[in-house]
């Protein structure tokens, strides 16, 4: 599924694929991230863990360029995202595929169109429009669906699939997009445990077989231990630890999820 003529300059860049320097992100009065420094290298498999509200989703959205930092610098494939014009930003974004907790599919379209949406960064408007009438590149889409285990759903309507199946469609879309890195924002929170394991297995296999960088945020830490090679612990917008699973002790995890009394002083750091 690798296309010729890929902007391979992006792929083989020697430095980190993601780099955050002193990043703050504020939403009004809410400080979502504070002074985050992070480097992720091509091919890594990183878990972001932490209690809800720790800033995991904000971090993912900074990495894929949906958000810009309030302070500091986010570099993706060597480019400072804040400095790019919309067109160049899209060029970089094409190399980053994201799957979401709520899947975010267009649910009254057929599965094939949602999978083909992975092409949108490359397709011309006319090609995209024609494909809605008569699907194009059916082979590619079918292959991607086979890879995620639901080849028979090619022409099904997306809203008729179960949660686990919809997450697979979202993954197939990312496969068609064929990015250098895959970001997954709590991809298994909305599917039952067994399907969750299958999806995590799939993500790990993709990373191993294709060398795509994987950054996955997880609410529960078990899969971080079993499926990733690096765990980044976030708490109240700050990185608490950043270590391989073997170095993450139960005490560190306990500190990450510790519940503090006195909601008043627990608020965001000013």
């Amino acid at each position: 599924m690798t296309r010729p003529g890929d902007p391979s300059g992006f792929r083989t860049c020697a430095g980190p694929i993601f780099e955050l320097k002193n990043v703050d992100r504020r939403f009004g009065d809410l400080q979502a991230l504070t002074d985050v420094n992070l480097r992720i290298w091509p091919g890594e498999r990183v878990a972001l863990v932490g209690p809800s509200g720790a800033g995991k989703t904000t971090l993912i959205n900074l990495l894929n360029g949906s958000l810009l930092p309030s302070r500091g610098e986010v570099r993706v494939l060597g480019h400072n995202l804040a400095r790019l014009n919309p067109r160049a930003l899209r060029q970089v974004q094409r190399q980053i595929g994201t799957v979401y907790q709520q899947f975010y599919l267009v649910d009254n379209l057929r599965v094939i169109h949602n999978v083909n949406a992975g092409h949108l960064g490359r397709w011309s408007f006319l090609k995209a429009a024609w494909s809605l009438l008569r699907p194009l590149e059916v082979e590619t889409a079918a292959q991607a669906l086979a890879q995620v285990g639901i080849p028979e759903k090619l022409y099904a309507r997306t809203d008729q699939l179960s949660g686990g199946q919809q997450q697979r469609v979202a993954l197939a879309r990312v496969l068609v997009q064929d990015p250098a890195a895959i970001l997954a924002d709590e991809p298994i929170s909305n599917v039952d445990p067994e399907r969750g394991r299958e999806i995590m297995d799939l993500l790990r296999r993709l990373n191993r077989q294709t060398g795509k960088t994987l950054v996955v945020s997880l609410h529960a830490i078990e899969f971080a231990y079993s499926h990733c090679r690096r765990i980044v612990g976030l708490r109240r917008g700050r990185i608490l630890f950043d270590a391989p699973p073997s170095k993450v002790s139960p005490e560190m995890v306990a500190a990450l999820y510790r519940i503090e009394g006195g909601r008043g002083e627990d608020g965001p750091v000013p």
Partner: protein, 583 residues
């Protein structure tokens, strides 16, 4: 949930080639085919494939008419008249909307299923249908008649019974709108969660008290925001009623048009735009504050329950309520409708006379043939109007949506510069103004203007109705876009898809079904409104009905109304089944 688990693949099932493409022959494409045939048939009915439709001689008149728009009559003799006409229209609308809300409130309770379930609780556990169904269905059916008849027809009817008094205009608005409000309110009540009500009923509280303490407070915000939507409609209805002589802006516009005083007409137009625009804005603002996402029934029901919450302390809501009460007092004081007239013996006599004269219905000497032909014409007119309004409304609705071209919107994701902001804002204002103008001018006035250059017939009527409907539909469609869940769009943007492609895959597929549903829904309203363009000679059953009413041929009127109701029913059923089929 069980069904989706069944669908889940158990893994390991090897794919046997590609799944075959689904056949292009499905329910959707079949309805598309039916639609195509209907269009061709309607165009044939309108005489598009035969005689001349354009009256070349009328162009100079159009030029004069348009030239007048830049120099409206602002003379000190004329302006007080404009002010007076504006106040009359406003007062009619306020009184009509208030009365229709009252009627709708009482009628809504009486026609809700939950009320009858509370009054007549199910006695035997085994029975599939409770006893409450009979009175409920009868009352429900009783609402269809006042709803199907247009305000104008009610107006003409009350003119004959009460004379040309303010009460006529108020009742002409209040009765059909009251029936519509009752239907919507009963649906709101039936959709409101019932547990609190049942808890009270089971502890022996009487139905009325139980309802007052449970469902009514829950549903009240819905009713309030719907009442303000009705006020918008009432302004338009009050303007239309002017045409039958009830006074106000519609009446003055009609007079100026008839006497070719275009400068005066434009002044009145601008007053109408202002009145209508301010009401729409106010009502929209209030409804947003109350948490009602959309102005039409369809979405009100679906979203209402989730989003509705009263912000009691909101200054906009409190201020609006104070203004509304003030307007109400002013309007009744200004018009001084004489409600005692309703109980006067003379009214009863006249009413009895009208009823006596109405039966048995007499179908024309030409027989049913003419009525069938006119029904077909009316149907064709509504189909053309709705198609035009839908096709134009969709492209106009997008720039009119707040979240589309403005910075941060769907097509302008960038943190765009001042140029793009200006461009987006300009287009937004331009399309919104266009839609406002289209819906503010009463359809009969549109028809009269079109008759400058078109020969009388179906076509000017269809275009007039189409323009009026376009104004309403475009606004509704813009709200569909504004209420779109933007997370799937952000997902597409995050992978680097350009704006137009995001529109194609993220916006169009999710808005189009809503647009089609709105078009089908408004089709029902459109068939009602065919009557009012018939009034000025644009053809269809409206023309016949007007002739019969003005010659006091009540037996003929009843016959025509029977046909008209049949047609309305047919459109209702078709529209509902197409909407179900496309879901």
């Amino acid at each position: 949930m069980a069904r989706s688990l069944d669908l889940e693949s158990k893994g390991g099932r090897a794919p046997v080639g590609l799944p075959s493409r689904p056949s292009p022959l499905n329910r959707r494409s079949l309805w598309g085919l039916v639609f195509g045939v209907a269009i061709v048939w309607s165009l044939t009915q309108a005489g598009m494939f035969g005689r001349d439709v354009i009256n070349e001689g009328g162009w100079p008149l159009v030029v004069r008419f348009l030239q007048a728009s830049v120099r409206p009559d602002l003379s000190p003799e004329f302006l007080p008249l404009v002010l007076k006409a504006t106040l009359v229209t406003l007062a009619y609308a306020v009184c009509g909307a208030a009365l229709s809300t009252l009627l709708g409130f009482v009628g809504g309770i009486l026609t809700s299923e939950v009320w009858w379930q509370a009054v007549i609780p199910r006695r035997s556990k085994g029975g599939r249908f409770g006893d409450h169904r009979a009175p409920w269905l009868i009352l429900r059916a009783g609402l269809t008649l006042p709803r199907a008849i247009h305000e104008i027809i009610w107006g003409l009817f009350f003119v004959n019974v009460l004379g040309l008094v303010p009460l006529t205009a108020i009742l002409a608005i209040a009765i059909p709108f009251g029936a519509i409000t009752a239907k919507v309110f009963s649906e709101i009540l039936d959709e409101t969660p019932r547990r609190p009500l049942n808890a009270l009923l089971n502890s022996g509280v009487s139905p009325l008290k139980a309802l007052t303490y449970s469902l009514l407070p829950q549903a009240f915000t819905n009713l309030l925001s719907y009442a303000f939507y009705r006020l918008e409609c009432s302004i338009r209805a009050a303007a239309v009623l002017g045409i039958i002589g009830a006074g106000g802006l519609g009446y003055e516009i009609f007079l100026s048009l008839q006497s070719l005083r275009y400068e005066q007409m434009w002044t009145l137009f601008f007053a109408l735009f202002l009145l209508s625009g301010l009401t729409d804005f106010w009502s929209g603002l209030l409804r947003r504050r109350l948490g009602a996402a959309s102005r039409l029934e369809l979405n009100l029901l679906k979203r209402g329950r989730r989003k509705m919450q009263a912000h009691r302390r909101d200054p906009v809501v409190n201020g609006s309520l104070a203004v509304a009460v003030g307007l109400l007092v002013f309007s009744f004081w200004y018009l001084r409708p004489d409600f005692t007239q309703l109980l006067a013996p003379r009214t009863a006599q006249l009413l009895a006379g009208v009823i006596r004269d109405s039966f048995p219905p007499r179908f024309e000497a030409g027989g049913m043939g003419e009525l069938f032909a006119l029904s077909a014409q009316t149907l064709a007119m509504s189909i053309l109007a709705m198609t035009g309004a839908g096709l134009l409304g969709i492209p106009l609705s997008f720039p009119a949506a707040r979240n589309f071209l403005l910075p941060g919107g769907i097509l302008n994701p960038g943190h765009g510069g001042r140029g793009r902001r200006l461009w987006g804002t300009g287009l937004l204002l331009a399309t919104r103004t266009l839609l406002l103008v289209a819906r503010a001018i009463p359809a009969p006035i549109w028809a009269l203007i079109l008759l400058f250059v078109l020969f009388p017939g179906l076509l000017p009527g269809a275009i007039a109705l189409g323009l009026y409907t376009l104004g309403i539909l475009g606004r509704l469609m813009a709200e569909v876009t504004e209420n779109l869940d933007d997370r799937p769009l952000r997902a597409l943007k995050a992978q680097g898809a350009p704006g137009p492609q995001v529109f194609l895959y993220g916006v169009l597929p999710r808005t189009l079904p809503g647009f089609v549903a709105y078009v089908l829904y408004r089709w029902e309203a459109c068939i009602r409104a065919t009557v009012i363009v018939g009034l000025v000679g644009a053809g269809g059953m409206g023309r016949l009905l007007t002739e019969q009413l003005s010659s006091f041929d009540y037996r003929g009127v009843v016959a025509t109304l029977i046909f008209f109701l049949g047609l309305t029913l047919l459109v209702d059923l078709t529209s509902a089944s197409v909407r179900r089929g496309l879901r």
